[in-house]
Symmetry: C2
Subunit: 333 residues, 2 copies
């Protein structure tokens, strides 16, 4: 659990894209973002107040989050100066970088001396149990994809936001590093030991109110041979009541696997539902989320209408057209 | 890779069952078992020559394998004396115990001083790649189960032995600690980081002669919610040409999951084949391996005959009736 709110560290980000994590925090959890910290040469801007470390502490920020991808995979000496000062000023640090904070002896020494925490969200901090498969109270929705990177996190985030706006009980459950940094909590599922994957998902989505929905961030795809085991653990550990099918219609092949074609949405529906019902016999597919970023608005609308007719399910692009349809389908369950 | 042959350490095993790993080595790789080392109070006996450490070294043994489950989960002081002397005598040590050899400072110190190796086969020793899904040469057979612990390892071991007896090219590929200790090599798949599971299986079963078969040890079950992700990674990382369905007909519920019923063999066939064809469109189910230990011989024979008629597949209990039928089905592919 990372203490919120945050000061978002943009460092010397070469462009806005390099600050993707910070953008995600600001878009999805603006209440977590007290301000931004930019160094000389920073070309990213979240539109938040630029703050010194002292100003951010005074404004209530508890953790400095590295919201930017670093150059060359290493934490530079320029960054280091800011990070050390932040620890001394009373901030915890949180990072999703490959270059772990805990592998930097000077940061570790200062964190120990000052009693601050270093959160490397790529690394599990919990000893997860083996899954027990016992039915939990409350409801769970999982986004599953025809491929990796088709908008599963975005879909769950958008539904969570829409549901809370409508006064429904909902919690986004992060299973990847970006989601964990955005919300301050979650399971870095791809870094969990095989035997404990499903147990980690059970741990992440515990008993809850009967009318509460966990929106579980999906990972990988049942049809992506590199990561399908992770997806399988989400389906059985999450014991979802509802599945959302996620798709990107213009992709020529599975991400990173040039000889693998994407499955059809029908194939995904059948396969995912069949497997999900092992853990939850009442599971239903409730809707389709399509990433239409590479289609014109007209083409996107036509595609979604055709899909709804073909599949008999609500279909939308939550980024372009909102997630209302998916939330309504969930509420109708 | 553990150096063979072995001296099998039985310690103070309270009974034969406690020496299960040693029994497996002696049954499946007798050429790896130079002799046994028993302490006062040992109630297990493999029927091998009792040897001192010096005698075993003279007979060519390279590694002392802890072939026994320890009491209370800790390595006792009595064991420790033998293990330290073994390192000093020039043996490597290999163990599948929860209590890791590497967590014992005195063993680590002696191993470093003598240049010997400590193999904890529960822990991966390789940085496995992310799976790339590229089709490999050679053939692969994977055992999949309706449940955990239904005889998948035994089936693959028995087929491997039978195939080599018949002059076929075959290699058993261990994915669990017992199999790794038996053969001296393999991947402890349940201890691999989630993102690398399928890549570890690809690494374990590389390109080979066109007429060579890898017999891949299965793990878990697609229908066991605690471990299904591991099974999924085997199916996609192994890209099997052939599946063997494994079953134990008298089991009342899934192992460790009292509210979960076992799937039918038909359900296993459909689900596993459908998923396997994502990675290998030519995959076929070739036979059924039934663990009939809780059935009379008459009942077992009748059950297997009925199953063959129902499923249209060869069915046998490889322990009771040999694995010939399965090997013939594989050869006929």
């Amino acid at each position: 659990m990372i203490e919120t709110p945050y000061l978002l560290f943009l460092g010397d980000a070469p462009d806005q894209l390099a600050a993707k994590v910070a953008v995600g925090i600001k878009d999805w959890r603006p209440e977590n973002a007290v301000g931004q910290f930019r160094m000389d040469g920073c070309n990213a801007d979240l539109g938040l107040t630029d703050m010194t470390l002292v100003e951010a502490r005074e404004a209530g920020a508890k953790t400095l989050v590295i919201g930017v991808a670093n150059r060359g995979g290493v934490i530079s000496q320029e960054w280091k100066k800011v990070l050390v000062t932040a620890l001394e000023e009373g901030f915890d640090l949180a990072s999703g970088l490959h270059n772990l904070l805990r592998d930097e002896p000077d940061l570790v020494a200062v964190a120990e001396a000052t009693g601050r925490k270093l959160h490397d969200v790529r690394i599990p901090e919990v000893d997860y149990p083996i899954a027990n498969g016992i039915k939990r109270t409350g409801k769970r929705c999982l986004a599953v994809g025809t491929d990796c990177s088709v908008g599963k996190m975005y879909t769950a985030m958008a539904m969570d936001a829409e549901m809370r706006k409508r006064g429904m009980k909902a919690t986004f459950r992060a299973t990847g590093q970006t989601g964990i940094l955005i919300t301050g909590d979650g399971v870095p599922l791809d870094a969990v030991i095989a035997d404990f994957m499903a147990g980690a998902v059970e741990w992440l989505t515990p008993d809850n109110d009967e009318d509460h929905w966990d929106l579980i961030e999906g990972q990988g795809s049942l049809f992506h041979v590199s990561y399908s085991g992770v997806t399988m653990a989400l389906i059985h550990g999450g014991q979802p009541d509802a599945l959302i099918l996620c798709h990107e219609p213009t992709r020529a092949h599975m991400r990173g696997l040039p000889t693998y074609e994407l499955p059809s949405l029908e194939a995904l529906r059948e396969t995912a539902l069949h497997l999900a019902r092992v853990a939850n016999p009442d599971c239903q597919v409730v809707g389709i989320s399509v990433n239409t970023q590479h289609m014109s608005e007209q083409d996107a609308t036509a595609y979604l209408s055709a899909l709804e007719a073909e599949m008999g399910l609500s279909a939308t692009d939550p980024f372009r057209f909102g997630s209302g349809k998916l939330v309504e389908a969930l509420a109708a369950l």
